[in-house]
């Protein structure tokens, strides 16, 4: 059997697929590994931006017809004078076809958001390592780091044909962001050194974000998946109103400022909403309101809150291919509601979806592979860069049970728990051997990686050491079944593992970990809970340990929620710590652990640092987090979360591998607008 690989046990860790350095991320994976044998991990690739503007522009046949009928201005007038030019991955495409896809309900808005990600001001190239122009054609960061200037594209239009200008930024800033009814609290992303910034119009096509303190991180924030870096597709959906611009000409009609409170309220009542704020929340949401002018490649024609979420091409989309064809190639997207993951996967096997990576289950890989020809699709495995798809997030401020709280706040206890996990077993069972076991630190290829040794620190099975550490903590007494007893009342020490069945079968992961912990005398009590209930308890800090991913932390500054207690909506590490940090020390509880304080201090100082210093800073933070085991990594850098990609063989320009990361808005940075149907 040539494909045979040694079965477990020997402890060989497969090098991460993405071995090359950050500069060479686009290079093929060359390491001799299981992935090569499978032939499923391709070359990281994607469309690239071109600076040559084509001489003439072409459009989809049905748009041409509408132009002929006088319903639409000619394509040249619809495009900005300097459209974004993309060189498709393989070839110039053909127009037509509808992208069939699955979504799982109104809460699955991210499904569409990610496809529309090119409405962001700045974005990443397909490698996820370089910030590139998007809606803004260029940006400048002043030398002092206090001002970021965005240059817009002249003549760019909203989806309804209205001009898109700096005024739309000012409108968002003054009328939405500063309106307490719409945005009750200012966001940290818009602040530098604790002071809120401003949005200033320089001219029609130039906007400045001005801060009182240096904010070198700001362009990355704009490009990242942050509250300020949204674009409409993320940050003005689902009840939010963030993200730097909004269609002023359309939304003014719903705002009291432009008529009167009474008038907009009456309008809201007539439309069936309680008040104008409720109405505005729906009207500015691209997933809900087909009338909302947007900038993305497609626009909603049937909203997400129906059994079919459908989109059609935006005739004013600002992107063309190198031949001057206005994108997107595909006419539209039809997402059909399938509330059950098994059904999504089964329909995918039946070839009922053209490209699906979301909600595809890694555990079904053998079956998905078996049905490739039948469903006429290819399977691609895209490996992520975050440290651990399964992470034990430790509540270091658990107060309900002082004994458990004390232990969870003790670094050696957390380290012992981590040492007690046999990660190879979990990798083999739940990732089919496709993950990299280790700590929560991101892949070595990431600029913020503290180095390979930190992937292993405290994160390789060592039962003897773990037992020694636990003994040293005074947990020496054991009951008849070998479980350690509490020091306060002599009862069995029970550590709850709160697990949710979500992207992975985390309760099963937790069960296996709990079984492994028997060897270190720790009784892990798996609490499988329904998602809402579990998070409710996490937000109020009732949990011991939450089993969840740390996806997104591959770029720490852009998505710190699952690494440090900085987000008041996430109490995984102690909600009071989060409150303390978010309130600049005016609320919540100050952590007593000097390492935690140090990590938070480093994190806070990052915004004012230049890129290189910032990356160094992040590495320092990672070293603290891994050494202190704030979160215990299990296995990561796998295709488990959105990395099993089924692409119809009828599609072209599909990359062999795409960047799986929060900031890449997978598959957004691969520009689905460049995909097309061969026949």
């Amino acid at each position: 059997m040539t494909t045979r690989r040694k079965f477990l046990g020997a402890g060989t860790v497969f090098a991460a697929a993405a071995a090359p350095s950050i500069d060479a991320l686009a290079q093929a994976v060359t390491s001799k590994s299981a992935f090569d044998q499978s032939g499923l991990v391709g070359k990281l690739a994607g469309p690239t931006q071109s600076t040559t503007i084509p001489a003439s522009f072409k459009e989809a046949p049905q748009l041409a017809e509408m132009v002929k009928a006088g319903k639409l201005p000619p394509v040249a007038q619809r495009l900005p004078s300097e459209p974004l030019v993309l060189k498709p991955l393989e070839s110039i495409g053909k127009y037509g076809g509808t992208w069939r896809r699955a979504f799982i309900g109104p809460s699955d808005g991210e499904n569409g958001n990610r496809i529309m990600a090119s409405d962001k001001l700045l974005f990443w190239d397909f490698t996820g390592s370089k910030i590139v122009p998007s809606v803004a054609k260029a940006y400048e960061l002043s030398a002092d780091g206090k001002t970021t200037t965005l240059h817009l594209r002249k003549g760019m239009k909203w989806g309804d044909g209205a001009p898109f200008t700096a005024d739309d930024f000012v409108f968002w800033y003054e009328d939405m962001y500063l309106n307490k009814d719409i945005v009750p609290n200012p966001i940290a992303d818009m602040a530098a050194g604790g002071k809120q910034g401003r949005v200033v119009k320089i001219d029609e096509v130039t906007v400045q974000f001005q801060f009182d303190n240096p904010y070198f991180l700001f362009p990355s924030m704009l490009a990242g998946d942050t509250l300020i870096g949204g674009g409409q597709a993320v940050r003005q959906a689902g009840g939010n109103s963030y993200g730097a611009y909004a269609p002023a000409h359309y939304l003014k009609q719903f705002m009291p400022k432009y008529s009167s409170e009474a008038e907009v309220n009456a309008k809201a009542k007539a439309a069936g909403y309680d008040n104008w704020v409720r109405m505005l929340h729906v009207r500015k949401d691209w997933q809900l309101n087909p009338e909302l002018p947007t900038l993305g490649p497609w626009k909603t024609v049937r909203p997400i809150n129906t059994p079919i979420w459908a989109m059609e091409r935006n005739p004013y989309y600002y992107v063309v291919d190198t031949d001057g064809n206005q994108l997107p190639y595909m006419d539209g997207i039809v997402m059909t509601l399938a509330e059950n993951i098994e059904v999504v996967n089964l329909r995918a096997m039946a070839g009922e979806y053209d490209l699906q990576e979301r909600h595809i289950d890694l555990a079904k890989l053998p079956v998905l592979l078996e049905n490739r020809d039948r469903g006429n699709y290819d399977v691609h495995l895209d490996l992520a860069y975050n440290g651990a798809d399964t992470t034990l997030h430790v509540n270091m401020n658990h107060t309900a049970d002082p004994e458990v709280g004390r232990l969870l706040a003790t670094a050696d206890f957390r380290r012992a728990l981590s040492l007690g996990i046999d990660r190879d077993q979990l990798n083999e069972t739940f990732w089919l051997g496709l993950a990299t076991p280790g700590s929560t630190a991101p892949a070595e290829v990431m600029p913020e990686s503290p180095g390979p040794e930190w992937r292993k620190k405290w994160s390789v099975l060592d039962v003897a050491q773990a037992n020694a550490m636990l003994d040293k903590l005074g947990l020496t007494k054991k009951d008849s079944q070998g479980y350690r007893l509490r020091t306060d009342n002599g009862q069995r020490l029970i550590i709850q593992l709160t697990a949710i069945k979500a992207f992975m079968d985390w309760p099963a992961h937790a069960q296996m970990i709990a079984q492994q912990w028997r060897k270190i005398g720790i009784f892990g009590d798996v609490k499988e809970q329904e998602r809402g209930l579990a998070f409710q308890r996490v937000v109020s800090g009732e949990h011991h340990i939450l089993v969840w991913t740390n996806g997104g932390t591959e770029l720490l500054y852009l998505y710190p929620s699952w690494a440090l207690p900085v987000d008041v909506a996430n109490g995984a590490y102690g909600i009071e710590f989060s409150r303390w940090y978010a309130s600049n020390g005016t609320g919540g509880t100050k952590p007593t652990d000097p390492h935690m304080l140090k990590a938070l201090e480093l994190f806070r100082s990052a915004a004012a640092m230049q890129e290189e210093a910032r990356n160094k800073n992040a590495q320092e933070i990672w070293k603290i987090m891994v050494d202190q085991q704030f979160h215990i990594g299990v296995c990561g850098q796998s295709p488990a979360l959105m990395g099993v990609r089924l692409a119809s063989r009828r599609l072209a320009n599909i990359p062999g591998r795409v960047c799986i990361a929060q900031h890449c808005r997978t598959p957004g940075s691969s520009h689905p607008a460049t995909w097309y149907y061969k026949a």
Binding site: F7, L432, Q515
Partner: protein, 367 residues
Amino acid sequence: MAQIDSEKYAVATQLQLTWWRFRRHRLAMVSMVLLFACYLLAAFADFLATTDPHATDARTSYIAPQGIHLFDDDGSLRPHVYGIKGVRDMKTFKLIYTIDPSRKVYIEFFGQGYEYDLFGLIPTRVHLMTLKDAERGDGIYLLGTDLLGRDLWSRLMVATRVSLTIGLVGVTISLFLGVLLGGISAVYGGIVDTVIQRTIEVIRSMPTIPLWLGLAAALPNDWSVLQIYFAITIIISLLAWTDLARVVRGKFLALKEEDFVMAAELAGASQGRIIFRHMLPSFASHIIAAVSLALPAMIISETSLSFLGLGLRPPAISWGILLQDAQNIQTLALAPWLLISAIPVVVVILAFNFLGDGLRDAADPYG
């Protein structure tokens, strides 16, 4: 013969009569024996288990059921299993197990295995079958293993105990509620009757799933598996008593008109005496029949609850949890043997149905 028989009939109580009629119901008798066997099995669940039902091991993940070989090479009776080794094929990502007949692992009867409490009382390590000199990964995989490498046979044994008892406890509670409320409803009548009947109607009009969901979600977080187990039982039975209450009320009302009850009343017997001495015994068999028909409903309730992710949760082991484990495509495609756990569910539900039918026929041959 006929003479003796009729004399026997004349003095037989209703229960005895029912029993005699019941014995003639062959299928019901078989079912009863089968159920008795199941409960016996449940009592000795851990003893019959071959490996710790919770123990996980990646290297035993998804092993298909393996037979026990009875005879050694020399023809002597020495039950053994073969060594087994698995490899993941990195093209198909399937686990491929190869059996190594050259390595025999002998089965020891009444050997030492994992520790458990027999009948929940006596700590012991004795199991019916264990392996002698087993290497890691060896096992008696009678029904194969699940994804986490846990032995399905052993899990099934423990699940049987949990699911069969949850039904019993649940039925006991709903029986109590049903007889009490149904009885009160019939005896007092009037406004009490109306209130109880209305309550029953409202409960029956409520779709059960939201009720379960609401009640199960309200269970405190720090409850142990055992506490949740009993809470779920109580929840199920809180909704299941209505049918029994109706049966009891109906029977009560019908019996009230019967001559012997009237006679007792005229003779000045107290109400309590009439109910417990005269009325209850006369429809005890109906209640038994209703109970045996309610049990499978309880079991299905537990299964559905677990299936919905409410109710019992892993690491608890119940039929519902085993079935839920099998409710995904990869199991159907790669480890269809996990569906075996449906067989005892079906068989026990069938048996309870037959038993209930038999009892009902016997209790009320004309009803």
